[in-house]
């Protein structure tokens, strides 16, 4: 999915919502666990009811991997189901290794599973990120400033050049790719930091987890983060998927997604981003 196509979908749906598919056996409605296909039934239902309000889906590989081989069957089924639905398919995998190994990760998610995008950890530097960027028509989403408290430990440390590490990472990685193939993960819980980050990467898309269960505020994120093309994909996972743990999980999820989409539509309208 190109940037142009993504922006088109954002305008069309008046939404920059990404639904995080963190499938968790301990949280899905109990009645689904009696069926062999219960996990799939749950995810298919979630996708079906949220699709009108959503421009991206982000299956989180950890939640699939921990089911063993069955989990990878499920991951594949989800990604296949999302093809041709005009949504950005993001493998939230946070991979990254030396060049020849990152090549294999890129092959895994871009070729073997046909995802549009993957999240990548920057610690190992340029040759660990470049193999992802080499794939034409795909997106590399690099960790910048994450939503968790642990972001203080290293990301927010100040370098000798007086920049926080995350600023250095964003600035440097931005020079390796383009606005058409690179995004950054910026946690919604870091609202005010969006202002300084937008000075470094005014035109890039930012993937923003942390709204909902993690406590980030959508209005603050939008205030400092929106750009001329929207430039934001705000993710919600648990607050949508597990809006209800009962038979009505799908309608509860749809309602939660719709609520977020309505807020987003207002924010986009205020910014003059309309279809």
């Amino acid at each position: 999915m190109t940037r142009k196509e993504l922006v088109q979908q954002i305008k069309l749906k008046q939404s920059f919502l990404c639904v995080g598919l963190d499938i968790d056996t301990s949280k899905i409605p109990v009645h689904l666990l009696n069926s062999k296909e219960g996990h799939w039934d749950f995810l298919k239902e979630i996708i079906d009811v949220t699709l009108p309000y959503t421009v991206a889906y982000k299956p989180n590989t950890a939640f699939f991997e921990c089911m063993g081989i069955e989990g990878w069957h499920l991951f594949n089924k989800v990604v296949q189901y999302l093809q041709n639905k005009s949504v950005l398919i993001i493998a939230d995998a946070k991979r990254g290794d030396i060049g020849n190994t990152s090549q294999k990760y890129a092959e895994t998610f871009f070729h073997t599973y046909s995802c549009d995008a993957i999240t990548v950890a920057p610690y190992m530097g340029k040759d660990s990120v470049a193999p992802f960027l080499d794939y034409k028509g795909k997106w590399t989403i690099v960790l910048g400033l994450t939503s968790n408290t642990g972001s203080e430990d290293f990301q927010q440390q100040t370098l000798q050049n007086e920049k926080p590490l995350y600023t250095q990472v964003i600035e440097t990685v931005a020079s390796w790719g383009t606005e058409d193939n690179t995004m950054f993960v910026i946690g919604a819980t870091k609202g005010i930091a969006f202002e300084s980050i937008r000075k470094v990467v005014p035109h890039h898309f930012l993937l923003v987890p942390g709204v909902g269960a993690q406590g980030g505020d959508l209005a603050t994120v939008a205030q400092y983060g929106l750009n001329e093309d929207c430039g934001l994909l705000v993710n919600a996972s648990r607050s949508i998927l597990y809006a209800s743990s009962d038979n009505n999980f799908a309608s509860a999820a749809a309602e939660e997604a719709l609520t977020i989409q309505c807020q987003m539509a207002m924010l986009l309208k205020a910014k003059g981003i309309t279809s």
Copy 2:
């Protein structure tokens, strides 16, 4: 595998060799590709012939993942085969995410697949590493200073406190775990840096990739890196696995592993680490 058991094996085999299982279809002998089980036959043979010289195996998840679901069957088969062989089984996965997601990765590699250890990326900080450390009897191997040129981009940047980022990472992460459950990845190509790293973590084990195909020098690593318990696991992957691309691949791999083990035996002897 506990630290005591690992040190016992090192003394017994007079080796601190880790064999990296980077299975690569484009590099295994062509005759094996005719068989459905060719990848497994290759890896089983490599394990069988290198086992006398090796204290750890490190399947690199990227090389399995890129084969799709078949790759995970193969990964599982390899890990099962390595059980009860008195070797440390390291999932080289470089995972790391917010707490609830890292928990799932820890479950994947420690529980679903019964590995002894996993490599972890530190960028997201304490709550991304802690879920791995929480597993009793398992090892968390955190990226410190890696062997690739990209390590200059961020790891070697100097912080305001005048420490390089990698030193800060090693020092901080060391305070989260113990010498019995935490190791660090330090690239063999950074020979001289081992001297300063040993001042920060004198007693920890270090996992050292980069000898062989990547050009690191074993003698330099040992000179600065060995400690009273050996404290090193030096990894070789391609130089052993693909020592020959012909029918004699297994004997060539065994010869390469034996050559490294002989060097290691001399280095251990000089340090007074004997069985």
